[in-house]
């Protein structure tokens, strides 16, 4: 174990996988000479050279397609999106080419790529650079979607994503790159995709959250503890495939659930979680499942408005109190 930042954990995962497997290469805007817009790829060009750390011009659809083509014939590209906002320019490649190739070809051509980069609410970056992007991807059969909350997850999940034989959308966060945590040194440390994690055990209510919202929910849980409400925190870590079993298991134990997500609520991650919790554990629920979501508005620039757009700790506290005060059986 070593204490390192989320950014360093990602960097270590890339390094280890590139050392392990010569088919792995990194491609994207400013990943080499500039060492990454957010320095995730720092030092990689020096260690692995220009053939494996490939700077591209600004052509998201083009270089994503390059990654897909290379993956079809045996390589394992890690494509960096400088930010996931730019991935929309490559959405056709991701949805229509990467996700469906294996299926359309009747199992002849799989596409082992990782598309990674930061996404989600950032700090005063306004509407085009600060938004939750996972909804665009987790709807698509054939894609896996990962959102790693901690440095340990960042390392373990990225390594699993690189070793996975399918296209994996791996969305980090600007706001988490400097967060520090314990990370195993073991180059074989992997966290399997599709496994949720109970980050905090509790008995009264299950709060499901990931990324920045998990940190906010943790603060809320500490506060609620003082009020005598015991919160269990579940982090899905992988949104597709979703570990419904762990979430349902927790809800069966606590009988109450709140989903927190940074993105807008309409047809969001929370909607899906509420749906399967209701379908599979209705009889176990003592209260309706609540959602705390980002406002249904684009991200504003002004600091005060930005704050209103994103779910606050107070909103989480209020939602948890509501479900805990509901009359259960």
């Amino acid at each position: 174990m070593a204490a390192m930042t989320y950014r360093e954990a990602l960097n270590l995962a890339l390094r280890e996988e590139m050392r392990r497997d010569p088919r792995v290469f990194v491609i994207g805007e400013e990943v080499g000479l500039y060492e990454g817009a957010y320095k995730v790829t720092q030092g990689l060009l020096k260690e692995f050279g220009g053939q494996r750390v490939v700077d591209t011009p600004i052509a998201e659809s083009g270089f994503t397609g390059v990654g897909i083509g290379a993956a079809m014939v045996g390589l394992r590209p890690v494509i960096e999106m400088m930010t996931f906002n730019f991935a929309l320019l490559a959405l056709d490649q991701i949805v229509n080419s990467a996700a469906k190739m294996y299926y359309m070809s009747g199992g002849q051509f799989n596409v082992p790529i990782v598309i990674r980069g930061p996404g989600g609410p950032a700090a005063q970056l306004a509407a085009q650079h600060s938004q939750s992007m996972e909804t665009y991807f987790y709807h698509v059969p054939g894609l896996k979607v990962v959102r790693p909350t901690t440095p340990m997850d960042a390392k373990g999940l990225l390594k699993s994503a690189i070793r996975d034989d399918n296209p994996v959308i791996f969305i980090e966060a600007e706001t988490l790159y400097s967060v520090k945590g314990e990370v195993p040194d073991d180059p074989e440390f992997l966290i399997p995709l599709g496994k949720a994690l109970v980050r905090r055990e509790g008995t009264d209510v299950t709060v499901i959250a990931y990324m920045g919202m998990m940190y906010r929910a943790m603060e809320a849980a500490e506060e609620l503890e003082k009020e005598g409400i015991s919160v269990e925190l579940v982090d899905p870590r992988t949104l597709r495939p979703m570990d419904t079993e762990t979430i349902i298991g927790s809800v069966r134990k606590t009988h109450r659930a709140v989903v927190v997500e940074a993105g807008a609520g309409f047809a969001g991650m929370g909607s899906e979680i509420v749906a399967f919790v209701t379908e599979q554990a209705f009889d176990d629920l003592d209260a309706p499942v609540e959602r705390v979501t980002g406002a249904n508005a684009p991200m504003p620039y002004a600091r005060n408005l930005e704050k209103l757009k994103t779910p606050s700790k107070d909103k989480i506290l209020a939602a948890v109190r509501r479900v805990c005060n509901a009359n259960g059986s």
Partner: protein, 336 residues
């Protein structure tokens, strides 16, 4: 044209021997007859969805493939039956795919627009216009990365040229020196939109100059001309990782798809009839007969052989069962 050639004695100057010539004619005829049968099957309701026929354009796929090695790659858009067959796929499995049957190349899950064949390095069948061009560049990237000397031929229509991905791919292939042969089949219409209505620069090969990519226009109705132009591009790509842009001047006799059977709204009957006068198969056959490389009897044998193979393909497709229901959920994710 054939009449001007001297019969016998003098060297025909075709640059191919009888065996190659016969193969080229056979391959073109196979595609023609295959497509005619597919059209028939479509009208009978045996084939559903969209069906884009390659009739009229056979010389491009056949001339191109004739100078490729089996380990070279090809990738195409949705009018790809011809490219797939030329690359060596079994017509039976191609037809079964069109029929949506379990013995199809893609187990019936892809259909007419998504033919793939790993055994021939045929990388699909892509139906979003322009999207497979960056993928072709990626295959070129991988060839270089892996230290290979293969090439990839990327077929696309004139309709892909106004797409951003055409330009992104040309730029990346030129910038990184990738062994990609971009082969534009200019059949003059993107669905119903003529090249003149779509491109500020209708001479497509000229876009290659912009990116410093060797480029040329070739008569896409002349299988030998295609063969020679592609051979030059393949040599450069194999030896120096130089990409190429070739514009094959060709024509589709049928409409955009079976849902546009005549293609009559945006072009005249006279134009279609005039284009048929330069039919790639008729011209090449006559040329071979004139040159004495083939006799009438040989032609009849080839015709018979091709028709038998297409009939077999149809029978095979008809007999192949539908994919089982549980296949709905297979091949979505590859398990480790």
């Amino acid at each position: 044209m054939a009449k001007t050639l001297t019969r016998g004695g003098a060297s025909p100057g075709l640059g191919v021997d009888a065996a190659v010539a016969k193969q080229l004619l056979t391959d073109m005829l196979l595609i023609r007859r295959f497509e005619e049968k597919a059209a028939e099957a479509y009208t009978l309701g045996k084939i559903g969805g969209f069906l884009h026929l390659y009739i009229g354009e056979e010389a491009v796929a056949v001339g191109t493939t004739s100078v490729l090695r089996p380990d070279d790659y090809a990738i195409s858009a949705y009018r790809e039956h011809g490219h797939c067959l030329a690359k060596g796929s079994d017509p039976k499995r191609v037809m079964a795919e069109l029929y949506g049957r379990r013995d199809g190349l893609s187990k019936g899950k892809g259909g007419s627009m998504h033919l793939f064949d790993r055994s021939t390095n045929f990388l699909g069948g892509h139906a979003i216009v322009g999207a497979h061009l960056p993928i072709a560049a990626g295959v070129g990237f991988a060839i270089k990365y892996q230290g290979g000397d293969q090439v990839i031929v990327c077929y696309f229509g004139d309709g892909a040229v106004p797409e951003g991905e055409f330009h992104e791919s040309m730029n990346l292939a030129a910038l990184w020196k990738l062994p990609v042969i971009f082969l534009c089949e200019n059949n003059r219409y993107a669905m119903g939109t003529s090249v003149e209505r779509a491109l500020a620069q209708p001479e497509i090969w000229r876009f290659g100059q912009t990116y410093g990519v060797p480029s040329e226009r070739v008569d896409g109705m002349d299988v030998l001309a295609v063969r020679e132009a592609v051979a030059r591009a393949v040599t450069r790509a194999r030896q120096h990782k130089t990409p190429a842009l070739l514009e094959a001047d060709t024509y589709r006799y049928r409409g955009h798809s079976m849902r546009d059977p005549a293609g009559a709204v945006y072009r005249t009957k006279e134009e279609v009839e005039r284009e048929k006068l330069r039919d790639p198969i008729v011209l090449f056959r006559d040329k071979l007969l004139a040159a004495g490389l083939l006799a009438e009897a040989d032609v009849r044998t080839i015709e018979k052989d091709v028709s038998d193979r297409v009939d077999e393909a149809v029978a095979f497709a008809d007999a192949s069962p539908e994919p089982p229901g549980e296949w709905l959920f297979t091949d979505i994710y590859k398990e480790a």
